[in-house]
């Protein structure tokens, strides 16, 4: 069985024997950076096409199926189109901030890739506060949105950006509480330990009722955090304003667009790790033979499979539900999600103390 961990180990040893350790580390960092950027590009291509085909099948039509077999080259065509578009900067815009905003969005997305465990022992940076790091760095996203809205010199971009900012900041609370709820029985914020603790079953099964409620709240909150429908008021197409990225065109718009999809991937990856076991195969308690059989499927396949299942769930939300108004959105958060998640946290703590989980 090939494994990403073995490939990484081989490269690491070869580099250390060929160069001295400083240069080897530098080269490793460069390789990691290039790998992350490649992953970005691939994810962008795959997710855009997946969204269009999923949307089409739900709408009883075929998706893009002309460019390349089954439409696989459609994303390439879209990329080329966005590259050759003219990148306009509006007249009165604050040029520095206007150009900086999409890059901050990308940088945040790249930073968030660091602690995620893609396969067994295959992480860029296994820090001991991994979950807290993800929670806090994703808040920087708000800065890039507000920067984009403000520097466009357009009243409607600003309105859209402020609405989006309010939405993200509110829903971070619920997402954070949902994460806290599932961390209570785990006892550690480190990603490798979180995945290891699920060796006898995923937390969504082990933590039964509070874990399921936390999972539902988490999915709703991250849909709102990444500005996806039904919470996509800030970038709605048939409402009257067009959102914080109105004035962006060409490659800068492509960066915003890409960073939205990569954000969806990252929050689904976090959800898959916390609730569905990350790269851990589907184990049931101590059924050794069953667990051993499940181990044959490589861990990266498990991880990407779970993440893409959650991404499909988020896409399913988008194409089924109408949009919420801004006051209904904030209403939902402060009057429904937050009290329920606080109560859920108490419930999980009580269960953890009493030991009533598997």
């Amino acid at each position: 069985m090939w494994s990403l961990q073995k490939i990484a180990n081989t490269i690491h040893e070869w580099l250390n024997t060929t160069f001295n350790s400083t240069i080897a580390t530098t080269i490793e960092m460069v390789i990691a950076g290039v790998a992350v950027i490649t992953l970005f590009a691939l994810l962008g291509l795959v997710l855009v096409l997946m969204e269009r085909r999923v949307a089409a099948w739900m709408q009883i039509r075929l998706g893009p199926n002309r460019v390349g077999p089954q439409g696989l080259l459609q994303s390439m065509a879209d990329t080329i189109k966005l590259l050759v578009k003219e990148g306009l900067t509006p007249n009165g815009a604050d040029k520095f901030l206007f150009n900086l905003a999409p890059f901050i969005a990308m940088i945040v997305a790249m930073l968030l890739m660091a602690p995620i465990a893609f396969a067994k022992d295959f992480q860029l940076w296994d820090l001991n506060i991994g979950v807290l790091y993800i929670s806090s760095v994703s808040s920087i996203m708000v800065i890039s949105i507000l920067m984009a809205g403000w520097s466009s010199n357009n009243k409607y971009s600003l309105m859209g950006a402020m609405r989006s900012g309010a939405q993200i900041v509110s829903y971070e609370l619920s997402a954070g509480l949902a994460i806290l709820t599932i961390i209570v029985p785990i006892g550690s914020l480190q990603f490798s330990e979180i995945v290891q603790s699920q060796v006898n079953g995923w937390w969504i099964f082990k933590g039964h009722i509070p874990a399921i409620i936390a999972f539902v709240i988490f999915m709703i909150a991250v849909t709102a955090e990444t500005n996806r429908a039904p919470f996509d008021l800030a970038e709605a197409e048939s409402e009257l304003t067009a959102g914080f990225h109105t004035e962006y065109s060409g490659m800068k718009f492509a960066l915003f667009f890409l960073s939205e999809y990569v954000n969806v991937f990252i929050v689904c990856a976090v959800g898959a790790t916390l609730f569905l076991g990350g790269w851990m195969p589907f184990h049931i308690g101590h059924w050794e033979s069953f667990n051993h059989m499940m181990d044959y499927i490589p861990s990266s396949v498990w991880f990407f499979g779970k993440t893409f299942a959650l991404i499909f769930l988020i896409m399913w939300f988008r194409w089924t539900f109408p949009r919420l108004r801004i006051d209904q959105l904030l209403n939902l958060e402060w009057k429904y999600l937050l009290p329920i998640s606080m109560f859920n946290l108490l419930l999980m703590t009580a269960l953890a103390i009493l030991g009533w989980y598997f």
């Binding site: 709408q59 048939s238 067009a242 109408p322 801004i326």
Partner: protein
């Protein structure tokens, strides 16, 4: 699409929701005065698709002018043609054979269902749910296929003429309509599942754009806009034409007056149209499909008015004739014009995002308003 014009003295902002709309209502220009996010005043500017239909009809004979009225409210094109044909028949005292009457009513009701389907899909799309649009078009395409087989066209049919209909129905017509009814009844519950019962949708439609019954009457609203406020205004019941007085169907009334009531009126109207079609489809009488008329039609001197119930409300056709082969003056009383006039009244005080929901429930087709 959206640009700032300037500010008034009190710090209000004036924006244009310009003729090119992201929503699907046609070329309507709204000048909205906003105070923060609250709407203070809405002023529609019309005329972007004015094609002087009424003036054109003054140079066309009574057989020729009907085709151009299909293009007024293109979603209920049969009903527009029907109104014109009825007015000409009233003037010339032509007796329409029973077969033609039944065929005309069948075509009218199928058109009503198709129009309400498109309305439903476009309404859901304005609110952000993109999927119901395609599901609505699946039903609408079935109806378009039926029309294509009998009338030869899918949108502007020009099938109803003074005296009856232009050609007899295709031999396949009855089977196709029955197959359509069967398919439609199996899909109706999906509309409830996907849109009507959805909690997000209900929250965006309830208590938005409340129109009281007195206001509906004083602004001259007709059709589902008025029936959603409890005003009984179905022309098929109050001034029945053709054989509507012999058919068994209910007039759909709701008393809430808000957007959700207007929505439910149209959904239930689709089911009433199904009832009418079911009563008629097996009992199309034999006979002529067109009454024998002279080759050149000449209306006697005088004024003639007929009103019918289109999918949007009451359409009135008023012909002033001086005794020649072409009318002296034709005036169409369009339902959309009066329904649009109520937009300022119901939009005052609500948020910008609700305007889209309100315009959707008024069911505006701008070529009907501008003619």
């Amino acid at each position: 699409m959206v640009e700032a014009l300037g500010s008034t003295q009190e710090g209000n902002l004036i924006i244009n929701v310009g003729p090119q709309h992201p929503a699907t209502h046609g070329v309507l220009h709204l000048v909205i005065t906003l105070n923060g996010e609250t709407i203070v005043h809405v002023e529609p500017h019309l005329g972007y698709i004015h094609r002087s239909i009424e003036k054109m009809c003054e140079s066309l004979t009574y057989r020729q002018f009907i085709y151009v009225t299909s293009r007024m409210d293109y979603l209920s094109s049969h009903i527009n043609n029907h109104a014109c044909a009825l007015t000409v028949e009233k003037g010339m005292q032509i007796e329409v054979p029973a077969r033609a009457q039944v065929i005309r009513i069948l075509m009218d009701e199928l058109t009503r269902i198709a129009s309400h389907e498109l309305w439903w899909g476009a309404m859901a799309m304005d609110l952000g749910a993109f999927t119901p649009f395609f599901h609505a078009f699946r039903e609408r395409e079935s109806i378009n296929d039926i029309m294509e087989e009998t009338c030869g066209a899918r949108l502007t049919m020009n099938y109803i003429v003074p005296g009856g209909v232009m050609q007899d129905i295709h031999p396949n017509f009855q089977n196709r309509v029955k197959a359509f009814l069967k398919m439609y009844k199996s899909k109706i519950h999906e509309y409830d599942e996907m849109v009507t019962g959805n909690i997000i949708f209900q929250n965006r439609m309830k208590n938005i754009g409340v129109l009281s019954a007195e206001d509906a009457i004083s602004y001259g609203c007709t059709g589902p806009t008025a029936r959603g406020s409890g005003v009984s205004s179905d022309i098929r019941k109050i001034y029945p034409y053709e054989i509507y007085n012999q058919l068994d169907f209910d007039e759909v009334l709701e008393h809430g007056g808000d957007s959700f009531s207007r929505y439910m009126v149209r959904i239930r109207e689709m089911q009433e149209s199904i009832k009418i079609i079911e009563q008629l489809i097996d009992h199309i009488p034999e006979g002529d499909f067109q009454a024998k008329t002279k080759a050149v039609l000449k209306l006697p001197k005088g004024e003639f008015y007929t009103r019918v119930e289109t999918a949007r409300g009451e359409l009135g056709v008023y012909i002033v004739s001086e005794g020649g082969t072409t009318p002296y003056r034709i005036k169409f009383r369009s339902p959309g014009f009066s329904n649009l006039s109520v937009l300022n009244h119901i939009a005052r005080g609500s948020k910008l995002g609700d305007l889209v929901a309100m315009m959707g429930t008024l069911d505006l087709v701008i070529p009907d308003i501008d003619r």
